[in-house]
């Protein structure tokens, strides 16, 4: 293929060997430590204040490092981890239902469709139990039983009840716990907090990450911040699709700038599509809202049998409805995993049987459940979800069926990191959704919160110390030529964006990019579609740099300028995602290639050719270089998933 070249394979040289359950312990012992007295002389930059960044900044400061923390929001409490609803997995086995660290490890590797590293996942499962202890000690108000002990519930992809939760706001409560620990360190003067600051460039000196260039979004001031190590905790890139369940501000800029400076980007095509979101209501749509997956426990999914049937849902008789999930997957029915439910919805809509004003929606009907259990019971279970639905759509789901449609929700890909969470740029660590490490090709429900906190509270603070202890460094300041060059790049780019003064808004480009990505690199990808997408993205990117209009100037708050910079980076990422999706000639997890499916339409993995991590190197010529990291499975043996 002409779109990339293949380079040398890459290996995770930090990965320990030996029995999987002893690896992390042994590795921790073997790592070097930093003397407490020396820690305060070391500065660490942490970009992002979500679960991963917030917990990492707080923990590093507690250990005595000087931490500089950055977020684009007005407060570290607002990072998008706050929107996670469901819960957090931990192998506590409080239910005595057969859970264990090994089972959580097994479920996660299998759920990831055998595209993640066993060592990393096992460590995640081990650390999961400490996270719950830590959060409880911080005063996180988890749901409890009458006896005063923690309550747990079950979640998709697992047969044990290991999900801890705080009503439907688990992410919020965990994030506030980390935020409060962070604020404590800010109050003590150990963390220098910079809210409303956006990282726009990474500074690499002598091959090591030594700082970042940031823009103060209030004053417009560009500054260069130097440190001994840089930690990126800047989240995922779902907003490349324009419409996603991510917050409006979520962006790939920090990761992408690091990628351009030498950090490999791994598996960018692995995106998770959530099947139960409220459908798009019109061109004005700015984001999508998730409805909890738990609704599928009682709701029945259907569309009319006939194409273009525009009768109201209650006027369509029973025998003219197609309960397609129950029909195609009789044993799992409405409860098939996320990727399967999403793709089935897309298929029926593509056939012209979608419902609602846009034709992109399917019914999730509670009439049977209300008949069977009574309205009261449904209200008790889903009352607040139904309210939220009604607030957004103006329709009463007790009377008419809900309309749902899949939406981009999480990105498993991210910057490549080794076992120590260090990227290919020494001194640049990447944690949380921003890295690629633990979920393989598909993430299980309630595992994102677990990974963010595992990285931030427990893994990074150990591995970062090892790096700092092993690599004593000269102090460099912002006048170093590399730092000055990085800063000049940022300033030039801003000047360039402001100077175009064209005739289209940033959002119009972003929306169009999103449509291309959703069409060709969304739930189902194909060779022809991806090639078409790449051509369209390139053309659109060219248009962007000629026709975008960014009003105002760089001095002071300019939300259009912020968006323009982010969208410019999304264009480059979008192309890489398509290339990655194109080269991966198999279907696995969140990546479904139309050409690679079983005769009955299920994903077909190709372990012989593709059991590797695709780590992409940026070359500047537009032709990325692929480095393969082979995956080996000693404990969990690859098998085909089936939900029929």
């Amino acid at each position: 293929m002409d779109l990339y070249t293949e380079g040398d394979p890459i290996a995770d040289t930090r990965a320990p060997d030996g029995p999987v359950e002893t690896r992390w312990d042994r590795h921790r012992f073997e790592m070097k430590l930093v003397n407490p007295a020396n820690r305060r002389k070391l500065t660490v930059i942490v970009v992002g204040t979500g679960l991963a960044g917030g917990s990492a900044a707080a923990t590093l400061a507690e250990q005595g490092y000087h931490v500089k923390s950055y977020c684009y929001q007005d407060s570290p409490r607002r990072a998008h981890s706050i929107a996670a609803q469901g819960g957090i997995n931990a192998a506590k086995n409080y239910r005595n239902d057969g859970d264990s660290v090994h089972r959580l490890f097994y479920d996660t590797v299998k759920g990831g469709d055998f595209r993640s590293r066993e060592s990393n996942v096992h460590r995640l499962a081990e650390v999961s139990v400490n996270i719950i202890d830590q959060c409880v000690a911080q005063g996180v108000p988890f749901a409890r039983e009458y006896g005063g002990l923690l309550d747990t519930r079950s979640f998709g992809g697992a047969q044990v009840q290991r999900t801890f939760y705080a009503r439907g706001q688990t992410g919020q409560q965990l994030l506030l716990g980390a935020y409060q620990a962070l604020e404590r360190q800010i109050g003590l003067g150990n963390v220098e907090m910079n809210a409303r600051h956006e990282m726009l460039e990474l500074v690499v000196v002598d091959g090591r990450a030594r700082g970042i260039v940031v823009r103060d979004m209030v004053t417009g001031e560009i500054s260069t911040e130097m440190a001994d190590a840089v930690v990126l905790a800047s989240g995922g890139y779902g907003n490349v699709f324009y419409l996603s369940t991510n917050a409006k501000g979520c962006n790939v800029t920090a990761s992408w700038r690091a990628h351009r400076k030498g950090a490999y980007f791994a598996n960018p095509c692995y995106t998770q599509i959530h099947p139960t979101c409220i459908p798009v209501s019109g061109d004005h749509q700015s984001k999508l809202t998730l409805m909890s997956e738990s609704l599928r426990n009682d709701g029945r999914v259907w569309v009319p049998k006939a194409k273009g049937d525009d009768r109201g849902p209650r006027d369509i008789p029973e025998d003219e409805r197609d309960y397609y999930l129950e029909r195609i997957y009789p044993s799992f029915g409405n409860l098939v995993p996320r990727d399967i439910a999403s793709r089935a919805a897309k298929n029926v809509c593509d056939e012209g049987r979608g419902v609602g004003p846009t034709g992109l929606g399917v019914y999730l009907d509670f009439a049977d459940a209300i008949d069977r259990l009574g309205r009261k019971a449904i209200e008790a279970k889903y009352g607040n979800l139904f309210e939220m639905y009604e607030r957004i759509t103006g329709e009463d789901p007790y009377e008419v069926p809900m309309r749902i449609y899949p939406a981009v929700h999480y990105t498993m890909g991210g910057l490549w990191v080794d076992y120590d969470l260090q990227s290919t740029v020494p001194g640049l660590f990447v944690i949380g959704e921003a890295n690629f490490s633990d979920h393989g090709a598909n993430r299980l429900g309630a595992s994102a919160l677990m990974q963010g906190l595992a990285d931030g509270y427990f893994v990074l603070p150990s591995t970062l110390a090892n790096y700092l202890a092993a690599n004593p460094m000269e102090k460099v300041d912002a006048s170093h030529p590399e730092a000055v060059a990085a800063r000049t790049d940022v300033e030039d780019r801003i000047t360039r964006l402001l100077a175009i003064n064209g005739d289209r808004t940033v959002d119009s480009f972003h929306r169009e990019l999103g449509q291309i990505m959703w069409e060709h690199c969304g739930m189902e990808r194909s060779d022809a579609g991806l090639r078409k997408a790449i051509a369209e993205i390139r053309a659109l990117r060219e248009q962007f740099w000629q026709r975008v209009r960014v009003p105002g100037d760089g001095e002071g708050l300019n939300q259009s300028l912020e968006k323009a910079g982010r969208v410019a980076d999304f264009f480059e990422l979008a192309e890489l995602m398509c290339v990655d999706a194109l080269h991966r000639e198999e279907s696995c997890g969140g990546h479904f290639r139309a050409e690679y499916q079983t005769p009955d339409g299920e994903a077909q993995r190709d372990d012989d050719r593709f059991a590797y991590v695709a780590a992409w190197e940026y070359t500047g010529t537009g032709e990325p270089v692929l480095h393969k990291e082979d995956l080996t499975f000693e404990y969990v043996h690859p098998s085909q998933r089936s939900y029929k």
């Binding site: 007005d74 404590r184 809210a195 998730l290 808004t505 009003p551």
Partner: protein, 253 residues
């Protein structure tokens, strides 16, 4: 539907600011309030004008970034709903809608509808936490918490820190925000050791930031999108008054 917006425009902290009128035609009732502002902004940009700056992020009612005073009501007319989840079907064709930023000395305007809410972070930094450095935590089940206490703590912890309470309060008081955190942590066994230093620290930080005092009117609670109850303030008052009887460095006082 066709609407007339009157929006507070202020170029920066030093500018005096003024209300500016914008007609917005063809508003769909299915738009959220912020999407309606997006549409206006797209048009302003193409007309060569500065778009209206406003804070927003998650747009699903949980991050607490959006902060609009709509027709004199924090987050607009629908109860229990943030501005980002407010939809245009709550308004009628021909309506005039006034949009202003939160107004409080502690929340200075940065630009247009964007204010600086850093004072809230300072209140948390002054004690709104449990000191539990990473790694020091005991096994989660070592201290059971009665379900009622845990549930009540959650109700207070649901605060999203948006500042609607301050915006709605005739005194510009941030007591409901402060009390929500004080109440959450004082209901849990993990919060007990710092219970009394916490409340003193947080109330001091609250007053220092320039918020007014509470006069138990209850506007905050009715504006709060998460329905934080007013009696949390009673709990803060109780803890505060008790705390004044304790002396630093006198164990058991």
């Amino acid at each position: 539907m066709n609407l007339t917006l009157r929006i507070w425009r202020q170029t920066g902290p030093e500018d005096k600011g003024r209300m500016v009128t914008y007609p917005v035609p063809d508003v769909s009732p299915d738009m959220s309030f912020l999407e309606m502002l997006d549409v206006l902004n797209e048009r302003l940009i193409l007309d060569g004008e500065e778009p209206v700056a406003f804070d927003h992020d998650c747009r699903e009612g949980i991050c607490g970034a959006c902060s609009l005073m709509i027709n004199g009501e924090a987050h607009g007319p629908q109860r229990g709903t943030t501005a980002c989840q407010l939809h245009m079907r709550q308004f009628s064709d021909g309506d005039t809608i006034d949009i202003e930023p939160w107004r409080a000395r502690a929340f200075p305007v940065i630009k247009d509808l964007v204010v600086n809410r850093n004072a809230f972070d300072k209140i948390i930094a002054a004690g709104g936490y449990v000191t539990a450095p990473t790694g020091s935590a005991p096994e989660a089940h070592s201290t059971p918490v009665p379900k009622d206490d845990a549930d009540a703590a959650f109700s207070s912890a649901a605060c999203i820190g948006c500042g609607a309470c301050v915006a709605a309060c005739p005194n510009g008081s941030g007591m409901l925000f402060t009390a929500a955190k004080v109440t959450q942590l004082s209901l849990l066994p993990q919060g007990q050791p710092e219970r009394y230093t916490r409340v003193i620290g947080m109330v001091d930080a609250h007053d220092e930031a320039g918020f007014g005092g509470c006069t138990n009117i209850g506007e905050c609670t009715s504006a709060c999108p998460k329905g934080i109850p007013l009696n949390t303030i009673g709990r803060l008052n109780r803890d505060y008054l008790k705390a004044t009887t304790k002396r630093a460095g006198t164990p058991g006082s």
